[in-house]
């Protein structure tokens, strides 16, 4: 299908990426969301570095001070303290990089598997496709959450394991998407042409088809990050998440949930942090999606 470009060709910058960026720039909500995402990333990096240099700021996130436990937000502890007297603000700020890392790595794992599987299935089609897609179906039949629970119980709840497990169970969507893209793209004339020229399958897949499928994959990736952040929070809530004393937004809530009626700040602020992070990723991802597909070309 031919894409209807909204503007005269001459005004359009040369690369598709540049075109997408111009459209993204016009989306105010998307820009704000992107700003928040970048800010969160910055917070993650800065506080991670500070903590590792031994300059905890505003306070040491792991320093317990029992005399000052369960304090409501006040002049010293802006967001209050938890049951061991640790500063909630510091824990939130220092937990940012964990939550974000969990999101990014899980997405990377799921993309890696999803794209590979989807590409193989979509490119080769026929029985290869049939077998792979049946396996994907089988995996989709599993209740994901149990799979995560059993896997975390099996492997132990370290950050790496959790990230990998979340990644391992969330790739099926990507695989389906990539397969669909590939099924369409491999029939296009230029792919047929390269194949006629005798190029090898891996080269065709990586050089010719994948770049054309990059946009929807990127969108899935961005939208996958908050999914993983929320999944980690849910796991933490059940006690299967990243283990204390390492603060993550999820386990601040998990630790704090018992005190919820007596110390609302332990739940409210980390919850808001998750909400804001997830929301900005979703909004940025949505804006990205709008920018890369001017109009849905494939039905």
């Amino acid at each position: 299908m031919i894409i209807n470009t909204p503007e005269p060709l001459a005004l359009v910058p040369a690369s598709p990426a540049g075109r997408a960026w111009r459209r993204f720039r016009d989306n105010k909500i998307g820009m704000v969301a992107l700003g928040v995402v970048l800010l969160l990333a910055l917070i993650g990096v800065v506080f991670f570095t500070l903590n590792h240099l031994g300059i905890p700021f505003p306070a040491d996130p792991d320093a317990t001070n029992l005399e000052r436990k369960l304090l409501a937000p006040n002049a010293v502890n802006w967001l209050g303290t938890d049951n061991l007297g640790r500063d909630v603000l510091s824990r939130l700020l220092n937990g940012a990089h964990i939550s974000l890392t969990v999101g990014f790595i899980a997405v990377f794992v799921s993309l890696f598997i999803g794209v590979t599987v989807g590409a193989v299935a979509g490119y080769f089609g026929k029985w290869v496709d049939n077998i792979i897609m049946r396996i994907v179906d089988a995996i989709m039949c599993f209740p994901t959450f149990f799979l995560i629970l059993t896997a975390v119980a099996l492997l132990g709840p370290s950050i790496i394991n959790i990230v990998v497990v979340i990644g391992l169970v969330s790739w099926t969507g990507t695989a389906r998407l990539v397969r669909a893209e590939f099924l369409t793209l491999r029939e296009t004339s230029y792919v047929q042409a390269t194949r006629a020229l005798g190029q090898q399958a891996p080269r065709i897949i990586f050089r010719h088809i994948l770049p054309n499928a990059a946009a929807p994959i990127l969108v899935t990736a961005v939208l996958g990050v908050p999914d993983a952040i929320l999944a980690e929070a849910g796991l933490s809530f059940l006690g299967f998440g990243v283990q204390p004393p390492q603060a993550t937004w999820g386990n601040i809530i998990a630790d704090g949930k018992t005190y919820i009626l007596d110390a609302w700040w332990l739940i409210l602020f980390p919850g808001l942090a998750i909400l804001i992070a997830a929301l900005s990723f979703y909004l940025a991802g949505d804006a990205l999606r709008q920018a890369v597909e001017t109009r849905s070309a494939r039905q």
């Binding site: 049951n83 975390v152 119980a153 132990g156 283990q243 204390p244 004393p245 949930k257 018992t258 009626l261």
Partner: protein, 692 residues
């Protein structure tokens, strides 16, 4: 097209409207309450069969449906329940080379016996080459004291072998004894694949003989033949229960001794796989001379045995004719007992409802029924309590203060029978030095822990027993918090401060991993605090948390850990053989830290054979002191449990000791606030309650 548009807006609106109406109905209806009690629990009962259940959710329901032969009274003394009274006795049999020797020994004893009463001797007789003593108190001490009076004619020692076979053992064991000279075999016993043989003579020879014989029959796999440390004479304690008459099961059938015998048989039945089996493994026989007498004979003195008869009794007339694998489908979901409340309905994962037993043998309870609700989330459980959907709440420590201040609530606080500890794995070289363990104890600020983790609701633990137990030793002094002393002790033990502030000895840093299970706020707080306290004296602690099942399976039961935070929830019993005896350090056994002390072993063995209250107290006292001195655990604290009740929800009207009725607010007894549960009534239904 207005029709579609109406639907698009209309359906959500209708859904919302119906929900609003439903809310109104619910709000209006929940105003009036029935004459029932509502108890909330995090977990659902696993099964309502008392001999198969082992979880606390099940036992709280079972407690109002069933009765045992015995129970604890309000002061935690053993009292009769289905048994009106009971007597203890023992038959000690000494074996001599010849009948003449036995006569001689009896005569010697008679002449030098000064105080029969003190040695609990009721009578004695000579049977062939045996001298049989009838004692009014079980145990070995009195018999041994009497044996000292036998003079020159010394009895032959008796040896005991215990057998675990891969298959049914009974016939094989009788075959073995028929092949052995009968004079040597004193007694054989077999139930299922467990067996015991008691004989005169050299245990080594017979053991080898038996081992060979059984290996031939069964093969070597799964076969254990062990010599048992038992008295050198035959000691057979006996408990006789005189059952209450006129007690009826909920279906109207009379309760008899047959039910007791059946319950014992069921527990021992492998098809039932009862977790309580080990309590009864020393029973030699259960006899029912008449409908209201049960006589239990034991194979050797085992004083914890008495309390095992607090076990709920099952109705034989309902269960004896169904195979146990059918019980989970029928009886275990709809039990019939003798207790103050009858089972009514069980909605899975929602609630179990019991209703009043009009014919309860202590009198008709006041409440119409009790509903045990399953509310899996701790927060919603508390919300349910605060909105009076359940009547009681086990308060979290940090919330106790505010409930105490609030006049609308009654708050019941009592020490629990549990304690938290840090177990040092004594298989690790770094923890083998007593000075190091003492230093660790001095370095951790337990008082601060109690103040901030338990909000003051707890006391420092001084060992393996808790202050509420009657055999607790109050003279054990806790090691005080003293980091200076800790540093000195560590220096003395050769652990000197290294360049990074962590102590080093022979090139090894004093760093270890402290593990605990996740999902337990108190334990993770303890771990965090200990980490900080030990850092201050130059010890590096890494904290790791695992899911409960993983924690146990991969680390604790294998003995593969450095140190762990755990707690013991103990019953009222003093027997801690499984936790501290040196024979219990293997995988899957409970002496998880690998503690071995020969003196402690002997004390643990002795206290199991002792029935005299005073002597139990002194043995337990020494036991507690010795183990505390060794510091295999860092004993932390005994938390207090707190229950909160709405003050106006219930009162108690119960029969007093002289037949009059006592009307009082709900109060705490040593056995908990719920001790008089069957006499609770709701003041608004006071008219319905029984009158004096």
């Amino acid at each position: 097209m207005p029709r579609v548009r109406t639907l698009i807006v209309g359906i959500p609106l209708v859904l919302a409207a119906v929900t609003a109406v439903a809310l109104w109905v619910v709000l209006r209806a929940s105003a009036d309450k029935k004459n029932e009690m509502f108890i909330g629990s995090i977990a659902e009962p696993a099964t309502l069969n008392p001999i198969q259940a082992a979880d606390s959710a099940s036992s709280s329901v079972l407690g109002v449906i069933f009765n045992g032969l015995l129970k604890y009274d309000a002061d935690l003394h053993v009292a009769g329940d289905l048994a009106e009274r009971w007597t203890l006795s023992q038959r000690s049999t000494f074996f001599f080379a010849t009948p003449e020797n036995a006569m001689q020994a009896a005569a010697n004893m008679e002449t030098s016996l000064l105080d029969r009463e003190k040695l609990h001797l009721r009578q004695y007789r000579v049977e062939n080459n045996r001298l049989v003593l009838e004692l009014s108190l079980p145990g070995t001490a009195d018999s041994l004291a009497l044996a000292k009076l036998f003079g020159a004619a010394q009895p032959q020692p008796v040896a005991t072998l215990s057998i675990v076979a891969p298959k049914e053992l009974g016939d094989v064991l009788s075959e073995f004894s028929s092949l052995t000279p009968s004079a040597r075999i004193v007694r054989t016993w077999a139930i299922g694949n467990l067996g015991e043989i008691v004989f005169l003579g050299d245990s080594k020879v017979v053991q080898q003989h038996l081992q060979e014989f059984l290996t031939e029959k069964f093969g070597a796999e799964g076969l254990v033949v062990e010599s048992v440390a038992a008295p050198t004479f035959l000691a057979e304690p006996e408990v006789t229960f005189h059952l209450r008459e006129g007690v009826q099961w909920h279906d109207g059938t009379p309760f008899t001794a047959r039910d007791v015998k059946f319950t014992y048989d069921a527990i021992m039945d492998d098809r039932v796989a009862s977790p309580r089996k080990s309590d009864y493994e020393l029973v030699l026989s259960v006899e029912t001379p008449d409908d209201h007498t049960v006589r239990v004979v034991y194979r050797r003195p085992f004083s914890p045995a008495l309390e095992s008869w607090m076990m709920s009794i099952l109705p034989a007339h309902l269960l004896a004719h169904t195979p146990p694998d059918q019980w989970p489908l029928t009886f275990n979901r709809a039990p019939v007992g003798t207790g103050p409340f009858k089972f009514s309905e069980w909605k899975t994962n929602q609630f179990v409802r019991v209703v009043r037993n009009e014919d309860y043998f202590r009198g008709r309870p006041h409440l119409d029924g009790i509903v045990f609700r399953v509310l899996p989330d701790p927060l919603t459980l508390r919300l349910a309590f605060e909105t009076r959907q359940v009547d009681f709440w086990t308060a979290d420590p940090w919330a106790v203060g505010s409930f105490k201040m609030d006049p609308r609530f009654s708050v019941f606080t009592s020490p629990s029978n549990s304690y938290n500890y840090i177990g040092w794995n004594l298989r690790r070289p770094m923890f083998q030095d007593l000075r190091v363990r003492q230093a660790l104890a001095h370095a951790v600020n337990v008082e601060q822990m109690i103040r901030y983790v338990l909000y003051g609701y707890g006391t420092q633990s001084t060992g393996i027993f808790t202050p509420d137990m009657w055999f607790f030793n109050p003279h054990v002094r806790p090691l005080p918090f003293n980091p200076e002393k800790a540093r000195e002790l560590l220096d003395e033990a050769g652990w000197n401060l290294g360049p990074d502030g962590i102590r080093v000895k022979n090139g090894e840093r004093f760093a270890f991993t402290l593990i605990t299970n996740n999902g337990n706020a108190v334990r993770s707080d303890i771990a965090t605090l200990v980490q900080a306290d030990l850092k201050a004296v130059g010890i590096e602690v890494k904290v790791e948390m695992y899911e409960w099942a993983v924690f146990l399976k991969n680390f604790i039961t294998k003995g593969e850990f450095d140190a762990m935070v755990l707690g013991w929830a103990l019953g009222q019993g003093f027997d801690q053989f499984q936790i501290w005896h040196s024979s219990q350090t293997g995988p899957e056994q409970l002496n998880t830290v690998g503690y071995k002390n020969a003196k402690v072993d002997r004390l643990l063995e002795a206290v199991r054979e002792e029935f005299d209250r005073k002597k139990i107290i002194s043995l337990c006292g020494e036991l507690q002191q010795r183990i505390y001195d060794d510091q295999p655990y860092l004993f932390l604290f005994v938390p207090e449990g707190t229950s909160v009740m709405w003050k106006d929800a219930f009162r108690v009207r119960r029969p007093g000791p002289d037949g009059q009725w006592i009307d009082e607010p709900v109060t705490m007894t040593k056995a908990g606030w719920s001790y008089y549960l069957e006499w609770f009534y709701r003041p608004e239904y006071a008219k319905g309650a029984a009158q004096p």
